[in-house]
Symmetry: C2
Subunit: 248 residues, 2 copies
């Protein structure tokens, strides 16, 4: 279910040709193309780790010399950009049911789900952002909804960054438990430098601190943000227009 729409195309291509040209059984290497490289990289990250994505490892996965990749991809950076945009292609930007709040929620949820299907990839955003065509489409949809709802251009821009930042952040924090309860014992002296009496609130809450991937966390934050936006619009606070940053 997490596969790309055409992830199985090369596979079916091969099966179509099976038996037609018996001179090369299953050892014929499929041609090395940009999409094939990107899909293999994505599979590698999903199956293993973001750290496991190495130009060398990717090359051996594709049964090719490491340098062959550089004929189709300029950089490892560009490869990561392509991977991200491929994933963002799964986001549905065309929900038009309900009011602007419902549509906004649907859009952000779809973005969230696309990232959920490829957990590790969200970490790429932490270093830099490069928006490809699919990323731009999502952004256009988001901003368009806010402008149409009546937010000022300034507020729409800020809200975009806030929602984007939050959603991506949820995935980056995901593999992490902020509470050291499950921490390895030998580091206990470090994490439990504070005596238990000093962290009563944390201890009271600890059974609910399962990390940002826990089922309801994203929805809770999204709901809080949407409620806040709705409130701002109704109280007329959504009209800031120019940024006052030339006073510094």
């Amino acid at each position: 279910m997490t596969d790309q729409p055409n992830a199985s195309r090369t596979r079916s291509d091969r099966s179509t040709w099976v038996g037609v040209d018996p001179s090369e059984d299953a050892t014929r290497p499929p041609p090395l193309t940009r999409p094939r490289i990107v899909r293999a990289a994505l599979r590698l990250v999903d199956d293993r780790d973001l750290a496991a994505l190495t130009m060398r490892a990717l090359a051996t996965e594709l049964k090719v010399s490491p340098m062959a990749l550089y004929n189709h991809v300029h950089d490892k950076e560009e490869l990561l950009d392509l991977m991200l945009d491929l994933v963002l292609g799964e986001v549905d930007c065309s929900v038009t049911e309900g009011d602007w709040l419902a549509q906004l929620r649907a859009l952000v949820c779809s973005f969230h789900q696309a990232l959920s299907a490829h957990q590790q990839l969200a970490q790429v955003y932490s270093t830099r952002i490069r928006l490809g065509p699919n990323g731009l489409s999502i952004m256009e949809r988001f901003v368009g909804l806010l402008l149409q709802a009546g937010f000022s251009r300034r507020d729409a821009a800020d809200a975009l960054l806030v929602f984007f930042t939050f959603t991506v952040g949820i995935h980056q924090m995901g593999s992490i438990a902020p509470f050291p309860g499950a921490a390895p014992q030998d580091e206990a002296e470090y994490y439990l430098a504070l005596p238990r009496e000093q962290i009563p609130a944390i201890l009271a809450v600890s059974p609910h601190l399962g990390g940002a991937h826990q089922p309801g966390v994203f929805e809770y934050g999204l709901d809080t943000l949407l409620t806040g936006l709705h409130n701002k619009l109704q109280t007329g606070e959504a009209q800031r227009e120019d940024r006052q940053d030339d006073t510094s």
Copy 2:
């Protein structure tokens, strides 16, 4: 102003001793200690880059062999943990003026400012989180405020993750402009794969898209989240208690 409280201690120590022991002029190496390593590492990241923080580079900065560091620090990971906790020591957890909303805002703002003083470091959170004593104190304060305000334990835990995720995310996105307007020209074909007619909203908003570090962005998001929390509490939606995740 971004210095640690005792960042200049070693310096003043040396100036105190100048002339007292003339046998070793300015070439006497100060003893290699854990705090000295952590401060040097932080300085290196602030002055240059997170990528510039290399055990080897740090060692030469301290005029020492790379392996000498491993006598005081187990790992590069542990070094990063120590750096983060040092920075979090600057967060003020003792503001008690105003209602819970004002106190919560003050706490998160202080956290935000501590991270702002060391921009690059926030990226460390993207891979994993290890909370040291200072991190735990902030967390305790945050959760305590919410519980006292009347939120359920479940909601307090989720809100913690949401605010944490958002604030850290703002810094990770910081150096990045999601709008490709300032992108290098030779990659234009990639970023402008969509014709201008298809992204009217983005273009309308583009002068306000300066990246997440822009002055008002964090405040806008924080305000939106706080408004949302306030609303939830008033409408009695802050009472979810158990997590329904065993139905999956």
